[in-house]
Structures are given as structure tokens and as C-alpha cells.
């Protein structure tokens, strides 16, 4: 299939093309389409851009390696969000464990870190230029992970309740209730912003 035609195909058609004919260009188009939404989703969940990039790359590598495990009954976006979400959750737990066992956990100042400062290109600093965005991002990090994921998928990624239910593997009712609780937690955390 010609490259021009590939650009017009839907996500599901592209992954089928990649499955059946091993067309790498189809995969590259999928990467182009999903790299930014996934980066935004994973970054808002983890709050660390470097870790987020690793997770998103790992998600695409999984798509590349296990392309045959995708079944056409599901939407491609749901599938890739599920992969990225699982990887993000695993990374979040790993980081929490590492933090628990690290020397920082025993220090007086819990926010103190021993990371070597990285002066390289940091899009998170560019995008979170506004103080408000930074405050909101910090507040999101304080919301319980189960609620945080739902709020990000709904209010930041603008996905439907059904899609979120499919991605997370829980019922629509539970999704709605978790979104509600997450929003309530966020509102409590951001009350100072609303006063202003």
C-alpha cells in the first residue's frame, strides 16, 4: 500500500496493515498519532517527564512486538491506552517502592532529592510555564492513583466514560464514582486557587 494512502487510514486499519503486511510505515503513523496524547497522559499521571518518555516508548515497543495480540474488536486507542496505563502504574509503584527504601525516606526533609540536576531539554518545564499549571500538576500528584488516572483520562484526555471503563477494566459506574471522588479531592487541594 502507498504511503499517501496509509495516512488516510484509521487506527484500526493501520494496525491491521501492520499485522498482516508488517508495514513499518503504518506503525510509524500510529506513533505519530499517539505519541503526544500518551505523553500527556503518562506525564500527568507520573509527574516525571523522563520516566514518562521511557513508559511511552515501552508502550510503543510493546505494540510493535505484540502486534498480533491486538484483536480488531477493540478500538486501537483503548488498547494502547491500556498498555500505557499498565506500564505507568507499574512505574509508579516501582518509584514509590524505591522512594520507600531509599535514603530520602529516612531524612527529615522528604522533598529533598539527591538526583543529579539535568539541564537537558525539558518540555515539561516549557509546557508548565504558568504557575497555575504547576500548582494543578502538583495537586494531581496528590490525588489517589486510582482516582487520578480516571480524572486524567476524562478531564485531560477527554475520553468517554465507556472508553475509560474499557481501558481500566472496571464498570462505567465505578469510573463515574472515581472521577467524582478524584475531582472532589482536587477541588479540596486547589481551594486556594478558587479563592483568588
Amino acid at each position: 500500500m502507498a504511503d499517501n494512502n496509509l495516512d488516510e487510514l484509521t487506527d484500526e486499519e493501520l494496525i491491521l496493515e501492520f499485522q498482516q503486511n508488517n508495514t513499518v510505515r503504518a506503525f510509524e503513523i500510529l506513533v505519530e498519532r499517539y505519541k503526544n496524547p500518551l505523553t500527556n497522559y503518562v506525564f500527568r499521571f507520573l509527574g516525571d517527564y523522563e520516566a514518562c518518555m521511557d513508559v511511552v516508548q515501552d508502550a510503543f515497543i510493546k505494540v510493535y512486538r505484540y502486534k498480533d495480540s491486538y484483536s480488531s474488536i477493540a478500538k486501537f486507542s483503548t488498547w494502547i491506552y491500556t498498555i500505557a496505563g499498565n506500564l505507568a502504574r507499574t512505574e509508579y509503584q516501582r518509584r514509590r517502592r524505591r522512594k520507600f527504601f531509599s535514603i530520602n525516606a529516612f531524612g527529615e526533609d522528604k522533598d529533598e532529592t539527591y538526583d543529579i540536576p539535568d539541564e537537558s531539554y525539558r518540555p515539561d518545564q516549557i509546557t508548565d510555564s504558568g504557575i497555575k499549571d504547576e500548582i494543578i500538576q502538583n495537586a494531581i500528584q496528590k490525588v489517589s492513583p486510582a482516582y487520578r488516572e480516571m480524572v486524567i483520562l476524562r478531564d485531560i484526555q477527554q475520553l468517554s466514560y465507556e472508553e475509560i471503563a474499557e481501558i481500566t477494566g472496571i464498570t462505567v459506574g465505578t469510573v463515574k464514582s472515581r472521577i467524582n471522588r478524584g475531582r472532589a479531592q482536587l477541588q479540596k487541594l486547589l481551594k486556594d486557587i478558587y479563592r483568588e
Binding site: E28, V31, E32, K35, N36, L38, T39, N40, F43, R44, Y49, C52, M53, V56, Q57, D58, F60, I61, Y64, R65, R97, F101, Y121, P123, D124, T127, D128, S129, G130, K132, D133, I136, Q137, V151, D155, I156, Q158, G173, K176, S177, I179, N180, R183, A184, L186, Q187, L190, I193, Y194
Partner: protein, 217 residues
């Protein structure tokens, strides 16, 4: 979820929607394709490896260690071995009674274990008495011989309401006429060898000779 909830959290929703999109770096595709082509995939953890990862083992290892420590501590407290020399000897049930009451099975009917042991005692007692009579020196005839000769007086009477059993009471008047109670005696049972038995019977003979001589005097 109420339809009013969206309105309730309108500020939060709006703020989240207005947040700037975080984008992937420009060289994202190139890095990704490089990783794919170089085969530097994230190592897939096998099921077995996932289970036996050290951090997963920490809670179970701690639990096992605690259990082992508890077992050791409790065992050390519980296993204070009593010195057998300081313990009171175990009282034998069969020797604690003043008179022995034996239940002997009658007329070839099925005999229980207790019944058998009791009948053995009776026959054993008679046997000892017979032996003592035989062991007595032939030429040693004394006027009050009967006072010192070992005798076993048997008193057999029907027992209770059952005609299957008979009660046998045995008392010895060999040396003393008063009944000897073994209750409260501190003794232990020793299985004698044949040599020891022979030695014991000799001692008994000597003792009897001594008694005979004293009585003559």
C-alpha cells in the same frame, strides 16, 4: 453520579481542560525506532521471576523469620526438663491398693486385658509362695515353722451381681500379721535377671535361717 456533579466541579474540570498539552520530544520516533532496531527491549519478567523478586519476598521472609524466632523462644521456655531424680516416682495403680481385688474370668469366656493381667498376678503370687516353700531347706524343721513359712491365704467369693467374675482376696501373714499397704511407698519396679533372682532367693534363705535361729534362741 449526579448530573449536577459536573456543574459542582466545573472549576476543576475547566482548569484541567485548560492545562497545556505535554508533547513528546522531537526525536521521539527516531529514538523509538533505534531502540526497536537495536533490539533493546525492556526485559520481560517471567512469571517465576515476578514471584521471586526480592522485594516481594521481604514480607514473607520477615514473617517466616518472626515465626522461627517465636518457635525458638517459646520452645526454650517450655522445654525446661525436669530432673527425674527430683520428681516423685510414678505411683503404680496395681500396687497402691491394700488388698488386691482380682476379677477372674469364669468358664472359658472371652477375657479382657485387665482380667488377664489380674489373673496373672494371682497365679504369680501363688507361684512365689510355692517357690518359697520349695526353697526352704529340708532339714530345717522348726516347731513354729508355720509362723514363718510363706503362706498365701486365698479368699474367693462371688463378686457383685455378675456370676462371670469371682473376687479373690490375698493376704500374707508371713512375717507380720498386720496388712502391709504399698500406698505411699517410694519404690520402683526392676526387672531382675535370672542371676539376680538367684541371688535374691539366697538372701531370702539366709534371712529365714536367721529368723529360725533367733526363734530357737
Amino acid at each position: 453520579m449526579n448530573p449536577n456533579d459536573d456543574m459542582k466541579y466545573q472549576d476543576v474540570v475547566n482548569n484541567l481542560k485548560q492545562m497545556q498539552q505535554v508533547k513528546a520530544p522531537s526525536g521521539f520516533e527516531a529514538d523509538l525506532m533505534r531502540r526497536i532496531n537495536s533490539g533493546r527491549y525492556p526485559a520481560e519478567n517471567s512469571y517465576r521471576r515476578k514471584i521471586f523478586l526480592p522485594y516481594r519476598l521481604i514480607p514473607s521472609a520477615a514473617l517466616a523469620l518472626t515465626a522461627i524466632l517465636l518457635i525458638f523462644v517459646l520452645n526454650n521456655n517450655g522445654t525446661t526438663q525436669d530432673n527425674p531424680l527430683l520428681q516423685a516416682p510414678r505411683e503404680r495403680e496395681d500396687s497402691a491398693t491394700k488388698t488386691k481385688t482380682a476379677l477372674v474370668s469364669s468358664e472359658g469366656q472371652s477375657v479382657s486385658k485387665d482380667e488377664l493381667s489380674t489373673s496373672r498376678e494371682i497365679s504369680g503370687g501363688q507361684k512365689i509362695a510355692d517357690n518359697l516353700r520349695q526353697d526352704k531347706p529340708a532339714g530345717n524343721s522348726a516347731p513354729n515353722k508355720e509362723n514363718f513359712s510363706p503362706t498365701v491365704k486365698g479368699n474367693i467369693s462371688p463378686a457383685g451381681n455378675s456370676d462371670r467374675f469371682i473376687t479373690a482376696n490375698f493376704t500374707s501373714n508371713r512375717i507380720t500379721d498386720y496388712p502391709v499397704s504399698k500406698a505411699g511407698l517410694n519404690f520402683r519396679q526392676i526387672n531382675l535377671s535370672t542371676e539376680q533372682k538367684v541371688q535374691l532367693s539366697r538372701l531370702k534363705e539366709r534371712l529365714e535361717l536367721m529368723f529360725n535361729e533367733r526363734s530357737k534362741q
